[in-house]
Symmetry: C2
Subunit: 132 residues, 2 copies
DNA sequence: GTATACCACGTACTATACTACTTGGTTTTA
DNA sequence: TAAAACCAAGTAGTATAGTACGTGGTATAC
C-alpha cells in the first residue's frame, strides 16, 4: 500500500472520515505525517490500527480500554497473560450485564403475564407496580 | 401531604434536586404552581409521578418511553393491553441485548482459552484475532 | 435581627462515541 | 483552465441522562 490520504483510509477502514480525526484528537490514533499543503498521510500500519480498534469495539471494549489494548499491542514486555486478563475482565462485565438484563426480563414477564388484555388500566398490574 | 418545595420533593423521591428541574425542562414533569417569590410548589401527585418514573427506569425503559407510559397512565382510553404491549416490546429489546452479549461472551471465551499464559504476545490469539 | 439554609435561573459540564457544518485552501478530473 | 472532489481546522451538534456552578433573591432557625 502506498501512502494515502484520510478519505481513502476512511473508506478502506469502513469508518467515517471525521471519526479518524476524532480518534487522533483523543489520542487513539497517532498524528500522521503531512504533505506540504497539510494533508494527512497514512500507511498500511494506520489501516491495521483502525481495524484493530474496530474489532475490539465489536468485542465490547470501550475506546478507553482499546487505548490500553493498543499499548499492550506494541509494548515489548506484554505477555499473552496480559491480554487474557483483559478478556477475562470483559467477560465478567458481560456476565454482569446479562444478569441485570435477565432480572429486568423476569420482572417484565411477570407483569405482562398478569395483564388482562381488555381490562381497564385501573386494574392493570403493570401500572400498579410502577406506581408503588 | 402538604405542599412542599423542590428540595423536599427531591429528598422524598430519592433523586437529585437538579434532576427534577431537568425533568421539567424535558417535559417529563409538569410545571408546578409557584409561590409569590417564585418557588416551585409540589404535592403528593408529583411525588407519585417521580416514583413512577424511577420504577420505570429500573425496568429498563428510557425517559422517552417513560414519557409515553406517563401519557398512557392518565389517558382515559388506555387499556391494560396498551401497557402489556409496551412491556412485551421492552422484553424483546432485552432479549436482543442478551443475545448480543452472549455472542460477545462466546468470542471472548474462545480467545481467552487459546491463550498460553506466559507466551509472548507475538503468539497471542487475542492479538491475532483483533488484527485480522 | 442575623446567619444559615433554601430556592431561582441559566450556563456549562460529565460520560461515551461519534457526526455535521462552515470557511477556505489544495488536488484531481474533464 | 474551470469545475468538482478532497482536505484542513474549529466549532457545534447528536444521542442519553444527568450534575455542577455562579449569582442573587427568599425562607427559616436561633
Amino acid at each position: 500500500m502506498k501512502n494515502i490520504t484520510v478519505g481513502k483510509l476512511a473508506k478502506e477502514a469502513g469508518i467515517n472520515l471525521e471519526t479518524i480525526r476524532y480518534y487522533e484528537n483523543i489520542n487513539l490514533m497517532p498524528k500522521p505525517k503531512r504533505t506540504k499543503s497539510g494533508y494527512r498521510v497514512y500507511s498500511e500500519i494506520d489501516l491495521n490500527r483502525l481495524r484493530f480498534i474496530k474489532n475490539s469495539q465489536q468485542l465490547g471494549f470501550t475506546l478507553k480500554e482499546i487505548k490500553e489494548l493498543l499499548f499492550l499491542r506494541i509494548d515489548e514486555e506484554t505477555t499473552c497473560n496480559d491480554l487474557q486478563k483483559m478478556a477475562e475482565h470483559k467477560i465478567e462485565e458481560v456476565n454482569f450485564k446479562i444478569k441485570e438484563l435477565n432480572k429486568i426480563k423476569k420482572a417484565l414477564k411477570t407483569l405482562a403475564s398478569q395483564c388482562n388484555d381488555q381490562g381497564p388500566k385501573s386494574e392493570c398490574p403493570i401500572l400498579e407496580n410502577l406506581e408503588s
